[in-house]
């Protein structure tokens, strides 16, 4: 260095470079670990995709892939759990808060997403079924299309409200939504829904009646399914409250978590117990069975509609195959019985000869 000012200038440049470098690194880290909403699932999503693409298809690759997927699924759930509780953890770290107010920091929408993921709630399949039925309804019941569309739109809008919008509100009251759904269903039944019970006329009467029955069965399934999901979501909320209560007790007792894993274990335990309590109730059995029964009935009727569609094609239909299966079953029994009789006769004949 020729003079002190050069030295200071050089030192400042170095410092600036170091700071810039740190800033760049931080930005890179941030972009890697954080998505725009501040969640930490980006690297997992990207990595999962590339890992799946890299999987070879070997003898047991499907199982390995499936297992791996479940591992990621489990970890994704853990990520979601972490996101759910992160605001509370931050708040606890940064300032002392009243444990009774912890609940305000947890986002019910995230809890709901977790419950949905865990119990495989899939309204997509239902919507698809509804749309397909609507297409058949369109073909065979032109005059009923406006009503069918209205019904489908109503069902979709209700589902959408339930699944996305309303639940995320902090002042959300699940019972209110269910009452709203029940009221909407009652209105539907007493107005446009009547068309589905009305006797059909004309050359395609049976087909139209079947479509009406199927639509009605699907609406029944949709209603039962939402009631069932509501029960699960409410229990999810109860479980969240139970976790909060347990945490509050730990706070008061001066206990600490060393690792997130410990909190995870507590969370699993409390949730399992809370849901198990629900599963033991008659209400749960009743609602789950009502939902599955309605789903099975809808599926059965839907299969019949498909069969009607395929009637003119040169292919064997399900009911025809069932007849064949029954025949094969009966014939097998007869053949076995006869084989047995022949064997018995041969044995007794050989004994007689001796």
């Amino acid at each position: 260095m020729e003079n002190p000012s050069d030295y200071i200038e050089s030192w400042m440049k170095t410092q600036q470079q170091a700071i810039n470098s740190l800033k760049d690194q931080a930005a890179q880290m941030q972009s890697f670990f954080m998505n725009t909403s501040g969640a930490t699932d980006n690297p997992f999503t990207n990595w999962t995709k590339s890992a799946f693409q890299a999987f070879p298809m070997g003898v047991d690759a499907t199982l390995a892939k499936d297992t791996f997927s479940k591992t990621l699924y489990g970890n994704d759930a853990m990520q979601k759990l972490y996101e759910l509780w992160q605001p509370m953890l931050d708040a606890i770290r940064n300032k002392s808060i009243d444990p009774n107010n912890y609940a305000d920091l947890a986002d019910p929408a995230k809890m709901k997403a977790l419950v949905e993921k865990l119990f495989n709630f899939d309204i997509g399949a239902m919507s698809q079924l509804q749309e397909q039925t609507a297409k058949y309804a369109d073909v065979y019941q032109q005059f009923g299309k406006p009503w069918t569309d209205a019904w489908i739109n109503a069902a979709k809008s209700q589902s959408s409200n339930f699944m996305q919008g309303n639940f995320a509100q902090n002042d959300f009251q699940p019972e209110t939504l269910i009452k709203q759904m029940q009221a909407a269903y009652a209105i539907f039944e007493s107005t446009t829904g009547k068309v589905f019970s009305a006797p059909a006329v004309g050359k395609d009467r049976e087909k139209m009646e079947l479509i009406s029955k199927c639509a009605k069965a699907m609406s029944s399934f949709a209603a039962n399914n939402i009631e069932y999901q509501q029960l699960m979501q409410v229990t999810g909320q109860e479980a969240m409250q139970a976790v909060i209560k347990t945490l509050a007790e730990k706070v008061e007792a001066g206990e600490k978590f060393e690792k997130f894993d410990e909190f995870f274990a507590l969370w699993i335990d409390v949730n399992e117990k809370t849901f198990n309590k629900l599963f033991q109730t008659k209400e749960f059995s009743k609602k789950r069975n009502a939902m599955t029964e309605a789903g099975f009935n809808a599926r059965k009727l839907y299969n019949e509609i498909i069969e009607n569609q395929l009637a003119d094609l040169p292919i064997a239909r399900r009911s025809e195959m069932d007849e064949v299966y029954k025949l094969v079953y009966d014939l097998r029994k007869q053949v076995k019985s006869m084989e047995f009789q022949i064997k018995e006769l041969k044995t007794s004949a050989s004994k007689t000869k001796e």
Binding site: T40, A54, F55, P56, V59, D60, L63, A64, K65, D66, T67, K70, T71, L72, Y73, G74, N75, A77, Y82, L89, I92, R93, I97, L118, F119, V251, G254, K256, F257, E258, K259, F260, F263, F264, I268, N271, E272, N276, F279, Q280, K282, S285, K286, N289, T292, E293, F296, K300, M321, D322, V324, Y325, K326, V328, Y329, K336, E339, F340, K343, E344
Partner: protein, 404 residues
């Protein structure tokens, strides 16, 4: 105020995420290396087949300790290789090492053409034909039946209907008294509309039943189990063990609709077996007609078949020689748990040897079972019905409940 999270900081969290990724990457490498998840490796020979069913005889691993062959009847749900999940955790191999002559029924995977198979077909048809095949193969007048879970219920029903062919009856974690509400499955099944289920599917997909099983402990079985898997992902052997169980859990055959319909309606909902009202074909099942020695094994922490569903069985049978055995563990731990490897097979073997028949009853029984490559597969025909002597109970023994 103290808070429980004061020791968790962002650095630790990032470290966790980093470690997590490392484990996943290493695990992914191992997963791609694994080409085969081997299960059910104990050598065996196919001796009879009928429709989808296959009957195997395991290759002997020791001198025969018991003259009467053992026929294992597994449940229709899931696959029987759970009993031989891996060489060092194999209930079957443990029995073979103790000199038992073991046969097993593999029900196969029902297809839509099997939807009309009934409980009568399974019990008075398939099981009876297998018993005949075993009698012929082992040249033994009688067979010891060993039923697992639903297979235990079926074995008991068979033994009540055909007591003359059964030397001993062993049931493991099998339900008999369905009136209990101890288990969630029992609770849920009582109100389920099985007609709607069977009518919708014909052969009910295994996945539907699996969903029910996963619902029993959703957080542990859907999330925690896979988080815990991370800890074994870097160890190939442990990972393989995990994958073997995983393979078994999700390897769920469909259920023949008519059989499932009757099982749910008559057993879970009607509790007809215990009430003496269960009908198979033209016959009514009377558990009082079970007069052979019985060994009833239940698991103390069984969440699928609670002890309350199993224990009453010993009070319903006509046998005088009956043993109730409590295993400290769960439904699956009975077969794959590390304690089970040391405890269960020896206990069963000892019990069987004590009740083995004297030589005259056996018909030229071989000292050891034939090798796995030896011939004679009987295919899809019925065995000639060998006349068997009626069961003659031995002198009464005190009912006991050994605990480890």
């Amino acid at each position: 105020m103290n808070n429980p999270f004061s020791n968790i900081d962002a650095k630790l969290t990032m470290k966790y995420l980093g470690d997590f990724n490392s484990k996943l990457i290493k695990g992914a490498e191992l997963l791609t290396d694994i080409e085969e998840i081997d299960v059910g490796t104990a050598p065996r020979q196919l001796i009879y087949e009928e429709d989808k069913l296959k009957l195997y005889r395991y290759k002997a691993e020791a001198d025969k300790s018991c003259g009467v062959p053992v026929l294992v009847v597994y449940a229709l749900v899931n696959r029987p290789y759970m009993l031989d999940i891996q060489p060092d955790r194999s209930f079957i191999r443990n029995l073979l090492k103790l000199g038992l002559d073991v046969y097993i029924i593999d029900w196969g995977y029902p297809t839509p053409s099997d939807r009309y198979l009934s409980m009568d077909d399974y019990i008075n048809g398939y099981i009876d034909n297998c018993v005949e095949a075993v009698r012929k193969s082992a040249k033994s007048e009688k067979v010891s039946l060993m039923g697992v879970c639903q297979g235990g219920t079926f074995s008991a029903i068979y033994s009540a209907l055909h007591p003359e062919k059964i030397q001993n009856l062993i049931t493991l974690v099998a339900p008999f008294d369905f009136s209990t509400n101890d288990g969630l499955l029992f609770n849920w099944s009582k109100t389920m509309d099985v007609d709607a289920l069977v009518d919708a599917y014909g052969v009910v997909p295994g996945n539907i039943l699996n969903d029910g099983f996963l619902m029993l402990m959703p957080f542990n079985l859907n999330i925690k189990k896979y988080i815990d898997m991370l800890d074994v992902m870097e160890d190939k052997e442990k990972l393989l063990n995990f994958l073997r169980m995983e393979k078994w859990i999700f390897d769920s055959p469909g259920q023949a609709g008519e059989c499932l319909r009757q099982f749910v309606k008559d057993c879970y909902q009607g509790n007809k077996l215990v009430k003496g009202k269960l009908k198979l074909g033209a016959k009514t099942v009377d558990l009082g007609k079970i007069t052979m020695p019985i060994l009833t094994i239940y698991a103390s922490a069984d969440h699928l078949v609670p002890p309350a569903a199993t224990k009453p069985f010993n009070d319903l049978v006509g046998s005088e020689d009956k043993t109730l055995y409590e295993f400290q563990g769960g439904h699956i731990g009975v077969f794959v748990g590390s304690r089970s490897q040391k405890e269960l097979a020896p206990a069963i073997s000892k019990w069987l040897i004590q009740r083995d028949v004297p030589a005259p009853v056996k018909v030229a029984a071989a000292k050891v079972a034939p090798k796995a490559d030896e011939p004679e597969v009987v295919k899809a025909t019925l065995m000639p019905k060998v006349a068997a002597k009626p069961s003659s109970p031995k002198k009464p023994k005190v009912t006991n409940t050994p605990k480890s």
